[in-house]
Amino acid sequence: MTHIGEARWQQYVLDECEAETVLQIEAHLSGCALCRQRLAEERRLDEWLLETIPAAGAGSAERSLERLWAAVDAREQLASERAPWPRRAALWWPAAAAACALVLVWSLRDSFTAAPDISQSETTAATPAHDQVPVPLGVNAYELSGGSGGGGRRIEPEQVSAEVVDAARLRTAQQRTATVLLDGHKRFPDHDGDFGRACAAGLAALRAEGWPVGSLVRSWALGDDVVVAAVAVRYAACEPSTFNVLAAALARDGRLAEAALAQLERDVTPVEASLPLVRALERRAARADDPLRCATLLARSQGPRSGAALSRLLDDRVDQTLASPASAQAREALLNLATLVPVDEALDALLTVSDEPALEPVMRGAFQARLAVAEEAGVAALRQAFAQRNPPSVLLDWIVASECVDLVPTLLIQLEEDPGDQGLLAAVVTLGGEPAASGLIDLWAAESGSRRERLASGLSDVLRREPLTLERVGSALAARGSDEARELSQALPSELAAPLLLACLVAQENPVDDGGHQAALLMALARTGPSGHVAQLLEWIGARPADDELSPLAWAVASQLDGVAAGAAWAALGHDPSSLSQVADSSARRFAAASLPSQRLLNPLRRALSAHAR
């Protein structure tokens, strides 16, 4: 029975079908318990969803509006209490001027403040004076010598007095020049005083190596100094607080982000360990300018955070691609991303876009690219996915090449929905096996005209390639009755029809059968003409009682198929040659009724017996 396709099913469940389609589906539902159960489950799901939202209490809207008007009134009252604009402006200008003057004074004071001398260790003595020679931000200039973020080379910054530290901390807090400072300060309290020391040391000293990374993170806000920032990036290894440095760097453009990316690509930093870092990479990957690099980093860092980020990115890409299927950039982005996500997610996304004709090549390319990376997982994902829904036609080639024989039932269901699909039929035929043959017989019985011929031709191909399936297929055919077996045998070439009918005949050992079906099968067998499949028939005759009423007909048919072999068997069983005339008489009527030539019905058998007697 043809079940409802997934797309139509979803439309029906969401009340989107046209009236005609609704009638068709409801007609199907009335006869299909499985689909009725599925529909009941869908409705039950809707009920549950509805019950998860408690109904708004009575007067809820009124309460909301009361609160709204209270807020509006308060705001209006506040506005009315404020001085009118000209008066306020008159106060603002002096205040703004004073603020500017203060900022100017602080800036100038920075220039004149001497940084405390940082004691230089042996290692840092070799470091160029960063406060005098600007250090370029290129990756090579900041290559890690030890690969461990400077471990073992750390210098202890000079201890400064509490007054200096407090003053510097206060000054920096008042400046509030960057959000990094505020965020960093909230998240990482300055218990060890490093931040205060860093502030007291000033920018120039911070350019030296050896400062704790947490201090650099916070001190970065001192003026967004690129050199300090680069040092911070360089030292951002695996310390939790330093992930924020990389995340903040990724949020910026240009060389700083490049340095952070290069740092991450060195495979030092476990991205998965930091949600801010994952988020920063995700945000950057979502942009159009450099999506692949960040997505690759996320894919390399295997874990739930990165996986979820990639999943969200993929959803967005699918969305964008569906919104503008003609955009080459969108297609390419989807293609790239689909090669990075787990193969089951790629498959899910690609199936989502498969309804869009313009995306078909993208889908094929992306999926093939993903399979090239993870073929085994891809096969498993495909099998799991397609066991529940129909595979799109573009993946048929792959299914056939991967010999996914267990997908044959799914393909047959799809073929049932669209019997004219040559690609599907070819896939079923190529995959072959008993399920394919039995399914094709079912489809053949339900079709007519040229489609029926094509199905018979496909079935011939399957049976010819896999003769061992004939017996099992014959058994299945026996269950359908002799009429269909006879019709099918006429549509198949004789070398296939005869063994199929024989298999069917052998399987027709039904105690309630009155012999009518077997007789019909024997007649159909007689129509196939001489063939080399008489041995099985003779064996069948030999296994039956001597007085079986079908025996004369069976001997006659055996004679038609292969007179020599039948004659030898007749003689071997000790039958009297004179009784051949009785056999001929009883069979002739049936042959005549079936418009088969009966005049020389047993001649081959007679000749064989004569030869045997001689």
């Binding site: 489950e41 969803l49 919104a323």
Partner: protein
């Protein structure tokens, strides 16, 4: 489109455009009438997105204030519902973001397999499972599913609320349903 304004024992019909004009002039009764028609839908959407009634009411309150302040910017009267729900949707997203910040970094853990229904789970347990599965859905999918299935909105309108294309809105709804079915499958089969 007409709204019914109760007035004593009678009701009078006021065109939405007139109602809107009255609102812009500061008529609070008219604003109450305009909001009253969509309040339940907005609250349900907020609850769906935020998961609890208190947060939903707070978000809706903020959305109402924004709606009131920006009423003058609404050009197309016919699109009031979409416009209002879009404000609610974005307000809920902001609220979620604030909540996540408040609670520290979100723990991104893979969805845990739901426990199999022992024999027959109680209704409350089943609803708790449904809520848990809904929480797994991205906000956009959850909102799309809600607007389509419970508010019976056309995909165009769902798309207008969520800032999507119509086709994308449909994809979101189908994906959400598929996910729910997949995750709730054992419960569905176990139910009578």
């Amino acid at each position: 489109m007409q709204n019914r304004l109760p007035m004593g024992m009678t009701t009078i019909a006021i065109e939405t455009s007139d109602l809107l004009e009255l609102c812009r002039r500061g008529d609070r009764v008219a604003f109450g009438q305009l909001i009253g028609a969509h309040h339940a839908a907005a609250l349900a959407l907020a609850q769906r997105l935020l998961g609890n009634h208190d947060d939903a009411e707070d978000a809706l309150q903020d959305a109402l204030l924004k709606t009131h302040n920006n009423l003058a910017s609404l050009r197309h009267v016919a699109g009031f519902r979409s416009w209002f729900l879009r404000i609610v949707y974005h307000q809920c997203l902001d609220a979620r973001r604030r909540r996540q910040t408040r609670q520290g970094y979100e723990r991104a853990v893979p969805p845990q397999p739901l426990q199999q229904p022992s024999e027959r789970a109680s209704v409350a347990e089943t609803l708790a499972r449904v809520r848990a599965v809904l929480e797994e859905l991205p906000a956009k999918q959850r909102a799309a599913l809600h607007l389509r299935v419970f508010e019976h909105m056309a995909y165009d309108e769902v798309a207008a609320v969520l800032g999507l294309t119509s086709r994308s809105a449909r994809v979101y709804v189908v994906k959400a349903r598929r996910h729910l079915r997949q995750r709730m499958g054992p419960d569905l089969e176990a139910s009578p």
